[in-house]
Point group: C2
Chain length 246, copies 2
């Protein structure tokens, strides 16, 4: 799934030494290389970064030449991305970058709220086992976002904010929640490119992410969950407003 490496898979190898696990992770990263998945990686980046706008059709013959893979392999890459929600198939007409609308915004944010709020609230039950080191990835994401904001690189701010939420979900150690969130955020990125004003869309949430992180660090999970709930409602409204104003 491309970005999986940034987050714990949730599949904990109970009986093994730590170093053995890191080796296993490296092996898995090597194995990941199949032509179809490499092609999918390239296309995924093109789509999430906006090079391929929503509604665009992906021609098979053109892409076989650019990506230097056969049509069959390319179609396998298409399938992979279709399952992530980054492409849609129209039978006998081809694959397209989906055009999401306001109903998708509502649907995606409903899922986000359910999952993220539950993860944060659930941390209270497993507080003792959660070492502070696990918040470090979130810390890094916040700082990356702040630095990108200072440099006026707003798409980068958006990416860092996304990773913050992916890492947040990762705290639950649920392989399936991680996978769902990966798809969910990819679809969200698709929506961002329809919006003309990335700054006012992302800027408010840099500080709110930091505030959320501090609440987690202070183990005020109930408060954090409540804030996050409102946070996501606000974010949804902002996106909807930007959408209607396009």
């Amino acid at each position: 799934m491309g970005d999986d490496a940034v987050v714990s898979t949730g599949e904990i190898d109970h009986g093994r030494q730590a170093w053995l696990r890191t080796v296993a992770a490296d092996v898995a990263r090597l194995d990941r290389s199949s032509s179809a998945e490499r092609a999918a990686d390239i296309l995924r980046r093109s789509i999430t970064e906006g090079a391929l706008p929503p509604g665009a059709q992906l021609s098979e013959i053109e892409l076989t030449e650019v990506l230097e893979v056969s049509r069959n392999t390319l179609r396998e890459a298409f399938r992979l991305l279709t399952h992530e929600g980054l492409l849609v198939y129209k039978l006998h007409r081809g694959v397209f970058v989906p055009e999401l609308d306001e109903r998708d915004v509502v649907d995606l944010y409903r899922l986000r709220r359910v999952l993220e709020v539950d993860v944060v609230r659930g941390l209270a039950d497993r507080d003792p086992e959660l070492p502070a080191a696990r918040l470090e990835p979130l810390q890094d994401d916040v700082e990356t976002a702040e630095a990108a904001a200072r440099a006026d690189r707003w798409p980068a701010v958006g990416t860092a904010n996304m990773r913050f939420h992916q890492h947040l979900i990762g705290l639950a150690d649920s392989a399936r929640m991680n996978a769902i969130t990966g798809r969910l955020l990819a679809e969200l990125r698709l929506l961002f490119h329809v919006i003309a004003t990335p700054q006012e869309l992302h800027e408010p949430y840099i500080a709110r992410n930091r505030a959320l992180l501090e609440l987690l660090d202070a183990r005020k999970y109930e408060q954090a969950a409540a804030d996050l709930h409102q946070y996501l409602l606000d974010s949804e409204q902002g996106l909807l407003a930007a959408f209607r104003a396009r």
Copy 2:
């Protein structure tokens, strides 16, 4: 996705007449006919009904002969099922029916609880728009389960119970929750086949489904959500116990 027809996709066609939607659904069902998806349908049944046990490898050349499709098409079918969680790919080694363990049970049930409880609780906010007719599919599932139980057909009871929960999620009109639930229940079915005692696994939940349905019909959503939460905790424990006793 095979079973999609049984549930609203959540993609509501706002401006259309009801009959126009049913026609569109029929067209979509015709269009659905691609060789890969037909092959996937057959394999899906074999897996969920237990003909292909967990851990089994699916040989490409054998299946091309049985299913009468080319290797490429078969591999596309494999991808479809992989995405549903019914198959796993091991690079250069082939596709296998996954062997789920207790950690998967915990993971799956965590997701189920989050989603299903939220859907039920969320019904309170949209009570006026929810016509009683929308509970009819749930009613049918409960009756199907009861009839199957009287006939001692316990796998059929399990299937009907599954459909009950799929329809329950369907009440939220969320395309993504429906899709997630489809995969989730497919994986759960995979776990059921490891269990030797289908009766004691499914029987208690026939009555509990009916009780839940009556609470929904009476619009006691808060109560229903609380009951469902406990219901799913109990179900998880039952599955874990059966799993350890295997």
